[in-house]
């Protein structure tokens, strides 16, 4: 078997498992009783989505798509910091 087709089959087998994980995280986002539950579920969803974008860049055979996971990981972290600062001190910005 060729190396390219082997990698394509492997990633095609991996994609449904990632989507099962995404849907379970989304169910926790829907059911989360408090604000920090929703925030950590969004964290896990965003980080796993960053990995999934990096995997899809190999499947689509276009490596120039790769700067998107760095940006996604950094700004999901920024959302975390905002909500924590609002919950703790109730002062954000000016």
């Amino acid at each position: 078997m060729d190396l390219s087709t082997q990698i394509t089959y492997f990633i095609s087998a991996v994609i449904p498992l990632y989507f099962i994980a995404f849907i379970l995280y989304f169910v926790r986002i829907l059911r989360g009783p408090t604000i920090p539950d929703i925030v950590i579920a969004i964290d896990a969803l965003g980080y796993d989505l960053a990995v999934f974008l990096a995997v899809l860049a190999i499947l689509f055979k276009s490596p120039l798509l790769i700067p998107c996971p760095i940006v996604l990981a950094l700004w999901i972290y920024a959302l975390d910091i905002y909500v924590a600062k609002y919950l703790e001190a109730r002062e954000i910005g000016a």
Binding site: I7, A21, P36, D43, A44, P63, P69, D80, R90
Partner: protein
């Protein structure tokens, strides 16, 4: 030739380990009872499910010659994302857990002794 096959095999193995940890973390995020237990599931899903497969993506891109010269770019960006996640994710988890404890947004259900409640910075944010 053999080096490329070994790199591809290692990358696929690391991505498979990452998918396994993702499924475990999502089931744990759904089944665990309260917020301070779900932080365990978040740690599993972040370090085991995001840092490890990103290193796997880098190895897989290094061993795949059909991607062209830009596969080095892909590998480097994946390694940088892995290092950033390794630094950022524990910081974010610590910050949100500290805010949830000190503001009283999430109550700990299964706790037998609470040492921080007797200290000066207790729960409920009463000093503010």
């Amino acid at each position: 030739m053999y080096v490329e096959a070994i790199l591809v095999f290692l990358g696929e193995a690391l991505i498979a380990i990452g998918v396994f940890f993702d499924i475990i973390a999502s089931i744990g995020m759904l089944r665990l009872p309260d917020f301070y237990s779900r932080i365990h599931a978040l740690t599993v899903g972040t370090i085991g499910g995001a840092v490890v497969p990103l290193i796997g993506v880098a190895l897989l891109a290094l061993g795949a010659p059909f991607l062209g010269v830009y596969r080095l770019y892909l590998a480097g960006a994946a390694i940088i994302t892995a290092i950033l996640l390794l630094m950022l994710a524990p910081t974010g988890t610590h910050v949100i857990a500290r805010a949830a404890y000190r503001s009283g947004a999430a109550k700990p259900l299964y706790i037998s002794i609470d040492e921080l409640a007797t200290k000066s910075e207790g729960r409920g944010g009463e000093k503010r």
